[in-house]
């Protein structure tokens, strides 16, 4: 399967999305990520029973925080797919990248001077994937 998906995604592997905490997602934004998506196993299929359901709640909480601090909750999302759904992963990566491109680069990158000005450069998305 030679599936194509946008190259500006950095994959961070974790044993289970249950390991992903609120602070991990916030730190990604502090480091300048334009967006983050958490790719967990299908609901009901977690090897550790409820890891992906915990991740879902944490992503929801991060959305609330991002809305309140001015970055916007749309920059983070939770997806559920199985390890056998490579095609779906590529589709999600394209979908999330399109969303982030429409939102524009992270205000954090702009404020830190990592990019010259809004809209001057295509924004990338960062992803986290559970094994």
């Amino acid at each position: 399967m030679r599936l194509q998906y946008p190259p500006d995604i950095r994959i961070i592997q974790v044993p289970c999305t249950g390991k992903v905490d609120i602070i991990h997602l916030l730190m990604a934004f502090e480091e300048g990520a334009d967006g983050v998506f958490v790719a967990g196993c299908l609901e009901g299929d977690c090897h550790f029973r409820e890891g992906n359901l915990h991740a879902k709640k944490r992503v929801k909480r991060v959305k609330e925080i991002l809305d309140k601090v001015g970055l916007g909750g749309d920059r983070v999302e939770m997806y559920n797919l199985s390890a056998g759904q490579g095609g779906r992963f590529a589709e999600i990566a394209r979908e999330m990248t399109a969303r982030i491109l429409s939102l524009g680069p992270s205000p954090i990158r702009i404020a830190k001077g990592l990019i010259a000005r809004p809209g001057a450069q295509a924004a990338g998305a960062e992803g986290e994937v559970a094994a």
Partner: protein, 222 residues
């Protein structure tokens, strides 16, 4: 233990916006257990504040720490060397800890980062319930180990009242009637005769009567 909930982030942002150097100070005691003000919550709040002020173009120094307990002077003293480097402290300890920071560092602006709620227990992670109101005169021995002060909405000493229906309080259908709980407990213990004896009027002078309460233990004082 003391139970608390984090203040809304927008409230904290409005409190600290005029202070360039902030210390977010957690407490490793009760508020860590109820996940409102431990080191983890300190890191999340500090990160959220940094995101807010950075995207707003405001430079702030926001540092993080957590003390073993903020309600003990020996642990608070650990801030002595560093606290002058900050314009304000956001304390994620309970109201007791936050006040103790203000007591010890009188020239430092101290903001509360949590709303201290009650003395309670952990039913489950994320589900905390009040169990004691600190009335200063414990009567659990007479009520089967169920406190009517904390668990009866009217704090009745001879309940239940007419608002008890199907074991629930008239206040809300999800609140058990404290006196129904007492009755069932005494029945289980075979002590219903206690339930039949009216409880004598309670001495409330040990509660909020007379202002700030204190405990003086000469056997412990150094």
């Amino acid at each position: 233990m003391i139970k608390a909930v984090g203040k809304p982030i927008e409230e904290i942002i409005s409190m600290v916006q005029d202070f360039p150097k902030l210390l977010i100070a957690g407490c490793d005691g009760c508020v860590t257990v109820c996940e409102a003000g431990g080191l983890k919550e300190v890191k999340v709040l500090a990160s959220a504040l940094r995101l807010h002020f950075t995207q707003a173009g405001t430079h702030k120094q926001i540092d993080e720490t957590s003390l073993t307990r903020q309600c003990d002077k020996e642990y608070l003293a650990q801030l002595r060397d560093s606290i002058d480097g900050y314009d304000a402290v956001v304390s994620l300890a309970c109201g007791v800890g936050a006040q103790f920071v203000a007591d010890m560092y009188t020239k430092k602006v101290v903001f509360p980062g949590v709303n201290t709620s009650f003395m309670g227990a952990t039913e489950e992670r994320g589900w905390y319930v009040e169990r004691c109101q600190g009335c200063g005169q414990c009567i659990l021995a007479e009520t089967g180990g169920v406190c009517p002060i904390a668990r009866c909405s009217k704090r009745m000493l001879n309940g239940p009242c007419g608002g008890s229906e199907g074991g629930k309080c008239e206040i809300a259908p999800d609140i058990p009637c404290g006196w129904e709980l007492i009755y069932e407990r005494l029945k289980t213990l075979g002590q219903l005769d206690r339930f039949e004896k009216p409880v004598t009027p309670k001495d409330w002078t040990t509660s909020r009567d007379g202002g700030v309460r204190k405990i003086l233990r000469e056997d412990l004082r150094i």
